[in-house]
């Protein structure tokens, strides 16, 4: 029984390596299958490591993007998992660091003040304030596409990245801005 499971795991690992090797050659179908497969495995891995479960999906997307950019470093003669989970581990560590760093700037108070600093209703943050809170790469992608009206290709060229990666950045920027400006899904 145990042998059968070990054999099954070894076979799956071998298949993943083959899929990644094909993806390195530009095979989109193989890559699609691989992404679906590893996303499942990564989700389980991240759920055990990311403290805030609501952030697991964000970290998962970061891991997939890091894996995409590092795909040329994978050696098909080796199993995929050590490579993949090393990426996932490092992305998780970076995420935890960023989270801890953000936490240091948030002031925790024991008691709420009797009177608010202003009697006016708090206004929704302005777009420029919300933009300032975005990571530089996302802000740049949003500004080039939505404020300057550049095409994806032109914006990607200016940012020194690929069109796909720029679209992912812009997509994440929209999502963050929607959350900050109070827009619905």
């Amino acid at each position: 029984m145990r042998d059968a499971r070990t054999k099954e795991a070894a076979e799956r690992s071998r298949q993943r390596s083959v899929l990644m090797a094909r993806a390195q050659s530009g095979d989109q179908d193989a890559y699609r299958v691989l992404l679906d497969d590893v996303a499942q495995a990564l989700r389980g891995f991240l759920r055990r490591r990311v403290a805030d479960t609501s952030e697991v999906e964000d970290v998962l997307q970061d891991v997939l993007m890091a894996m995409h950019r590092a795909r040329h470093t994978f050696d098909p003669m080796r199993p995929l998992e050590p490579w993949l989970f090393a990426i996932a581990r490092n992305v998780t560590i970076d995420h935890a660091r960023r989270r801890a760093s953000r936490g240091r700037w948030e002031l925790q108070v024991d008691e709420l003040p009797d009177q608010a600093g202003s009697i006016e209703e708090p206004a929704a943050p302005r777009l420029d304030e919300a933009l300032a809170k975005l990571p530089a790469s996302q802000r740049e992608a949003f500004e080039m596409l939505k404020l300057e009206g550049l095409t994806v290709e032109a914006a990607a060229e200016r940012a020194g990245t690929t069109a796909g990666a720029l679209k992912v950045r812009a997509h994440r920027a929209y999502k963050a801005l929607r959350a900050m400006l109070g827009g619905g899904e």
Binding site: G26, Q28, A66, T73, P82
Partner: protein
Amino acid sequence: MTADSHLAETKRQLVDDLRPVRRLWSPGARTALWVALEAVMLLYLLATRARGDVGALLAMPGFVLELAAVVTASVLLARLAFAAGVPGHDVHPGIRGIAFACVALAATHVLTRPFRTDLSLAAFANGAHCAVQAGVLAFVPWLVILVALRRAAPFRGALAGALGAGAAFLMAFAFQRLTCPVDDMLHLLAWHGLPVVAAVLVSALIGVWWLPRWRS
């Protein structure tokens, strides 16, 4: 938009963005090429700038041991640096220990060299020339490692940068022992050793700033 649809969108964009890539050579192969580059430099130096008593020095076991220790440490650090660019490419933890033991062994031998306090301007100028020469000898191998790392995918840029500089400048240290005629301990520590330390620190900073850019 739900989390699932975000993920589906990300996967779709990654698939759309997929292009064939040129696979990175293994850390072992890259280390071998780097060592070959250093070997060419060594042959050139021995042919053109070797100190006069190099034959006698190479007959001294202490000197040979120091040189072997520095060269070994340099190659091991290069191997560790190249491995730092490949996720999950773990190097045996003992390699790090051996590298540091080699550096300690070489440092111990340097500390047993005669100590002559020479604070003259000529000694200072001679030392400064050695420090500059360390930079010149190490520059290309250091750059080769940094560019190779930049093409890879290092997560810990500071460590990768520091390892790269350690490898290149330790090899330069070994080369300088065959070209610089001064065996004074103070000279070796200040003008041959300090450039190694300084380069490691500078390279770690460069690594923090430059090496993790593959992710953005």
